[in-house]
Structure formats: C-alpha cells, structure tokens
Symmetry: C2
Subunit: 190 residues, 2 copies
DNA sequence: AATTGTCAATACGCAAGCGTATGGAAAATG
DNA sequence: CATTTTCCATACGCTTGCGTATTGACAATT
C-alpha cells in the first residue's frame, strides 16, 4: 500500500522501509524479496541491483530502525532534565502505538538469526542503561537501580506482547494511557 | 538427542514432545517434519501415518502444552490457600527455567498463524484471570486488580524475553531467584 | 501357518523462494 | 546525438520442505 506514482525510481531506503513494514507485522522470517518487490510495484530484478541478498536487506533495515529509534529517544527523552519527569515520559512513550515498538516485539521472536540477536542485544542493553541511569539519578543505588530498570523494561516488553495477543480484549476496559500512568506510579517513587 | 534404543515403536505423543522441543528453542516456523523425524530416528514415512499434516502436529503439540501447563498451575499454585503466598509462589515459578516458559515466549513470536494466536489468547486470558482473582482476594477492587494482574503478567513475559535476549549478561550480576523476590516485593503489597 | 494390522523406508511430484543471467528502457552525461 | 549509467523485467536453475504413493518388515491375531 504505497502511495503509487510519486517518484519514478527506487533507492535502498525505500526497500528498507518496506522491509520494516513487513517485519513489524509478520516478523523477519516473513521477509520475502519477491513480495516486497510487489509491494513496491517492481520485480525481483530491481532488488538485486540495490542489495546483494536478502540478509543484507534485513540487516540494513534493522540498522535503520536502530538509529531512528535512538534518535527519538535522544529527542524526546534525554531532553528532559528531571529524572522523574524523564521516566514518566518514557513510560508514556512506551505505550504509544509506534511502529518501532512493533518491530522490537517481533524481533524478540526472530532472534534465532544471529544478526537479529546482535541488534536486539545492543538495543536492549542501551535501553536498560539509560533507565538504570535515570533511576540512579532519582536516588537508587546501583544494584537496585539495575533491578528496577530490568523490571520496568520487562513491563514494557510484556505490555507489547499483551497488546498484540489480546487485541481489543483489553483496550476496552481501560485505555492505554491510563495503564501507562498506573504503571509509572507503581514503578517510579514519589 | 533422544535416548535411542528404548522402545521399538513411536506414537503421536513422541512426535508432540519432539515438536515442543523444537518450538521451545526455534519457534513454530522451524517445525519441519523431516527434521523432527530425523530427531526421532525415523523418516517422513512414519510421520504421515500418525498425523495428517504438519499443522495437525503443531496443533496437537500446543494442545498438549496447554493442558500440561494448566495441570502444573493447578497443582503448584491453586493448592495454596493464602493469596499472598500464592502470588509469591507464582512469581517464583515464573522465574524457574521450565520448557513451558520457553514455549510461551516463542509462541508470542509466531502468533501470525491463527492457530497459534488462538491458543495464546486462551492461555493468556486464563493466566490473567487467576492473577486478578488472587489480587482481588488480597483486597484490590476489580479495576485495580485487573491492572495489577496485567502489569504482573507483563513483568513475567518481559522477563522471559530479557533472559533470552541478554543471555549470561545478566544472570551474573544478580541471580534469578533474587530478582523474582525483588519483583514480588514490588508488586505484592505487604 | 496364514492373515491382518502397525509402523516405517523410499521415491516421487510439486510449490515457494533465493540468487543469477541477460536484455531493455530511460535518464544522465559527453 | 551518441554513449554510458541507472534501474528494472523476464527467464532460468537450484534448494527446501510438504504431501502422496508404494512397498516392506515385524508383530499380533486367528
């Protein structure tokens, strides 16, 4: 579903974005060059001009996802000086329906592939690090901050899967922002 | 890696167990009848005597997993009358390195398949229900109990993925049971 | 002893999907 | 205007993996 007839020629970036769409909704294993080509309105012949093979495409797409995500955190989270507010903002951001979150959730599934596992580990460790840092700024000692960060991040990951698994079954009863606030209240000391 | 030379003939149950092994470590998409046959020391010809097709095998395996899991909860959790103790036991059980948990984690990944999504939803809703019930017994009103259950369960799911993603990177610093107790203390009111 | 039922091996057809080879059209460049 | 570069289509070969067909071996039954 691309807005057809916009530009005449494709670049690697277009392929990466289309690939991320597939990863977000169907996982890495579902990335098939012929299908993505069809989505973009071309055939396989085009793909192998831009990329060497399927794996290169996926790696490039994941790299793009990783750096885009890092940029968002930098802009939206690290710009907040107060650690309380910052953590609150992070929980709110986590509950937002962003493609970035979907991708993270599916990657957790496809970590059998070593190149997926690599990106995943990097991203996870970095996220844990800045959560831990914020909790330390609040006053937690290192050990506790580490556990609190791990727990907070687990809530995030768990939530992603819940939302996917349960569908409407649970955004009816209580809306998402409410839940995010509830969680934040539980995990961030007053 | 089966203990070869034990019994001369296979039954559906053997196939289901071998399938769950694959699902636990590589996910549903990795279930290939020819490979599982090799694991069991036979060839494809045998498989199609026991099952109609690949999907039937997976469905049967998942059904087995679901009922086995239900049985464990019934034995280990519901036998505990006090809700505080019961919830504590549940968190401890969650941190145990059981195959059942691995399977749940990979299923979250492979929920593109409708038959996986179905089992997953059933299991998740049931688990949320008994968590919620226990929190209500503690004194939470329904709405809060629901959110608390969701959050607790999210920590569980998130933890499963963390453990997989981070590998040794985090069972060094603090052992798993310690973390489980820390989480329980945070989520279960004194 | 003959027959039937149970479990498994082998061989085949078939579709999906990756990667390659080759040629062509359109745009940039000289 | 000629030529090179850029981007894409078509056609092919190859592998993987599902499902079927056929045959066989061994055990249970009569």
């Amino acid at each position: 579903m691309k807005t057809t007839a916009k530009k005449k020629s494709l670049n690697p970036s277009d392929w990466e974005k289309a690939t991320l769409d597939v990863i977000a909704h169907q996982g890495v294993s579902a990335v098939a060059v012929e299908n993505i080509a069809k989505d973009l309105g071309v055939t396989k012949g085009s793909f192998y001009w831009h990329f060497a093979n399927r794996k290169d495409l996926i790696v490039a797409a994941l790299k793009r996802w990783q750096s885009d995500d890092k940029e968002v955190i930098k802009q939206e989270i690290w710009s907040i000086p107060d650690p309380h507010e910052r953590l609150n903002a992070w929980f709110l951001l986590s509950a937002q329906p962003l493609q970035s979150h979907l991708i993270y959730a599916t990657l957790l599934a496809d970590r059998q592939h070593d190149f997926v596992a690599k990106v995943l580990k990097e991203v996870t460790l970095e996220r844990l690090a800045y959560l831990q840092k914020s909790f330390q700024e609040i006053g937690y000692v290192e050990g506790q901050a580490k556990q609190q960060a791990l727990m907070s991040y687990s809530v995030y990951v768990g939530y992603l899967h819940m939302a996917k698994t349960l569908h409407g079954k649970f955004k009816d009863s209580n809306n998402i922002e409410n839940y995010a606030k509830y969680v934040a209240k539980q995990l961030i000391p007053a």
